[in-house]
């Protein structure tokens, strides 16, 4: 897993609530047996019309906005557990998603793929979306060590929460498999003495 420490980037504002993983990557793209290429189809049915032409109204097709941070509305990533959604977002080039609320499974999947979910307050999110929408050059800085998200050049910032263990994993690029395998003896001992 790629390490994450700090990131400074412009951001893309996706001002929609309850973005579900079917929108992030529709089911018809889940037939692959590897993790490659999902970025090409991220938000497929919002980015393209059914005839394959680009939907110029969708934010990802607006050349004013760019960057490796996605700022999205409340309850991002709800619905299906498909990790393909995290692969698609990472594949497109995002390293951070900012929202006021994340669905559980998506959040875990993101963290397992080096994609940092930054949960901010509703008021901070509205402020961010407004500023980015009115000035696409607005830069954000995310400092994982300090658990802080700020607008570069302005005195606007907020702390965010992250599980201490997951933070260590992100900073060092570790994943859970390493940890679990190193605890095999303990797991075998548990199996031998299950109470149920």
């Amino acid at each position: 897993m790629e390490k994450f420490t700090t990131l400074k980037s412009t951001a893309i504002p996706l001002n929609i609530e309850n973005v579900d993983t079917d929108q992030i990557i529709p089911a018809r793209f889940l037939k692959a047996t590897d993790k490659k290429g999902f970025g090409d189809n991220v938000f497929r049915d919002w980015r393209y019309h059914k005839d394959g032409s680009e939907n110029s109204e969708f934010i990802l097709n607006n050349s004013k906005y760019s960057g490796s941070i996605l700022v999205a509305g409340d309850n991002f990533g709800c619905g299906s557990s498909r990790e393909h959604a995290a692969w698609a977002i990472v594949g497109y080039g995002f390293r951070v998603v900012v929202s006021s609320f994340f669905a559980d499974i998506f959040k875990g999947n993101a963290l397992n793929n080096g994609l940092l979910p930054v949960q901010v307050s509703e008021s901070f999110l509205i402020n961010l979306l407004n500023r980015i929408e009115s000035n696409p050059n607005t830069e954000l800085e995310i400092n994982l060590q300090n658990q802080r998200i700020s607008i570069v050049g302005l005195d606007i910032s907020e702390n965010f929460e992250i599980d201490a263990y997951k933070k260590t994993c992100m900073i060092n690029g570790y994943d859970d498999i390493d940890y679990l395998i190193n605890n095999k003896e303990q797991i075998e001992a548990f199996e031998a003495h299950k109470i149920y």
């Binding site: 079917d22 037939k31 049915d45 309850n75 619905g79 299906s80 990790e83 498999i177 303990q186």
Partner: protein, 461 residues
């Protein structure tokens, strides 16, 4: 001793160890896998040279990406065919039991596992599918996981998790005629919203759930994820024990009696505390339909679509081509789908057949009846339900996830409405540009017969 909830008891019995200021290592009893969310996990382990730790605790099926006609013939779509071939190969290589397409036990993972007795009270169960919450109907902790976690369970039979908070939804009273378990859960989600359960495990309590069949309880627990809860649970009781007893993988003889004695200790202690509690009255619930693009956007069938100025709400109504203040009654509907891990069990087809018997499907309607498993399919034929469906002009297809997520060819065309017994009405869920209205099997059957949505409550009284 402190009072514990059902969830606490099952969780605590599975904690291998705890990381200081971090997650816990939770032991997983049963791991269910399917073709879509497992291949990358198999690859990951192979790339890292890690063996599968407990292959005998894994059960595999093919369901998401399978055709629902001509299952005995090679699959036309090359990508789908390859995905199924990979599953077969991976299971063979790693000694994992697979009920592949066409096998007498094949079916939707959340239908076939309970049928086979793989699902049991007090277990921890996971699957790379968010509707794994279904199995909580047995009083097990069951939840959906991502593919990285599938790989973790492959490697260690464990997951690193922070214990979720607890939530209890109690429904007491007497359900009205025509109100099915699907209506109960759609009602609850419409009241609580799609993210009220995020970070929680939900226990359903009250006489309404106590009196429900296992099929009904599975429908309810299945949709827990639609209010954000990772899982839902119902305390195991005689209904549960009777369902499990005698199934293929159920404990037998003395072993079964011992297990039952343990299962009886699992229900929530009187006075145990929940982090959040909600109460509803059964009498307030009516047959439900959704009008928007998330499962929380539901109304009683007799109600009108509410008004809301929220831009996401308006975007949703625009997608559905509905207007605030409008009623869904008399809306012409051209597609009806009865199936999915929410409502494809025998009871669902009995309800549908009971309504359909002696009537005809409306000419404008394409109706797909898709059983949840080969066993359900066999039972539909055995009970004579297929004859009822055939005579009424309905098409009984072969088992699979089908039009619930439209990964196979069962897609609803652009712009068309589908009254569906599935679990998600997201934009394009049932096919690009399709518009889903979630409902019970009874409402779906009535829609198929009438060719439009009717007020089923008036029809029954």
């Amino acid at each position: 001793m402190s009072k514990k909830t059902l969830f606490d008891k099952v969780w605590d019995a599975h904690v291998v160890s705890s990381i200081k200021n971090g997650p816990q290592i939770l032991y997983i009893d049963k791991h269910l896998i399917h073709e879509v969310t497992s291949p990358q996990a198999f690859n990951e382990l192979e790339d890292r040279g890690i063996p599968i730790f407990r292959p005998d605790q894994i059960v595999a099926t093919a369901d998401h990406n399978t055709p629902t006609i001509n299952q005995d013939q090679p699959i036309e779509d090359a990508l789908s065919r390859n995905q199924l071939a990979q599953l077969s190969e991976n299971c063979k290589k790693n000694n994992i039991t697979l009920y592949e397409l066409g096998h007498q036990y094949n079916g939707i993972v959340h239908v076939m596992a309970p049928e086979l007795g793989v699902t049991q009270p007090g277990y921890t169960m996971v699957c790379g599918d968010s509707h794994t919450s279904t199995h909580g109907a047995f009083g097990s902790i069951a939840f959906g996981i991502g593919t990285s976690q599938v790989a973790q369970v492959f490697a260690s039979q464990c997951l690193l998790l922070t214990k979720p908070k607890s939530l209890r939804v109690t429904v007491n009273g007497k359900l009205k005629k025509g109100v099915l378990p699907k209506d109960v859960i759609l009602y609850i989600i419409s009241k609580l919203g799609t993210n009220s359960g995020t970070g929680y495990f939900c226990e359903y309590a009250g006489n309404v759930f106590e009196e429900m069949s296992m099929e009904g309880r599975m429908t309810v627990c299945n949709m827990s994820i639609e209010m954000g809860a990772r899982g839902g649970m119902i305390a195991p009781d005689e209904t549960t024990f009777n369902y499990v007893k005698g199934r293929k993988f159920a404990p037998k003889g003395e072993d079964f009696a011992k297990k039952v004695a343990y299962w009886k200790t699992l229900p929530t202690d009187d006075g145990a505390q929940f982090d959040k509690e909600y109460h509803f009255e059964a009498e307030d619930i009516e047959p439900m339909v959704t009008y928007g693009t998330n499962p929380g956007m539901g109304i009683k069938i007799s109600e009108k679509i509410p008004k809301d100025e929220n831009p996401s709400f308006k975007k949703s109504l625009a997608y559905m081509n509905f207007e605030a203040g409008e009623s869904l009654i008399n809306k012409p509907i051209n597609y009806v789908f009865i199936g999915s891990c929410t409502n494809s069990r025998i009871e669902d087809f009995r309800v549908a057949a009971d309504f359909i018997k002696g009537k005809k499907k409306a000419n404008n309607v394409t109706a797909w009846l898709v059983p949840g498993s080969k066993q359900v399919e066999a039972q539909i034929i055995e009970e004579g339900l297929k004859t009822v469906f055939d005579e009424a002009g309905f098409e009984l297809r072969q088992p699979g996830c089908s039009a619930c997520l439209a990964m196979n060819d069962d897609k609803i065309p652009q712009g068309e409405y589908c009254v569906s017994t599935s679990n998600r009405n997201f934009e394009g869920r049932q096919g690009q540009g399709s518009r889903t209205i979630l409902a019970s099997p009874l409402v779906a059957a009535a829609t198929a017969v009438e060719g439009k949505i009717i007020d089923i409550t008036k029809h029954l009284n």
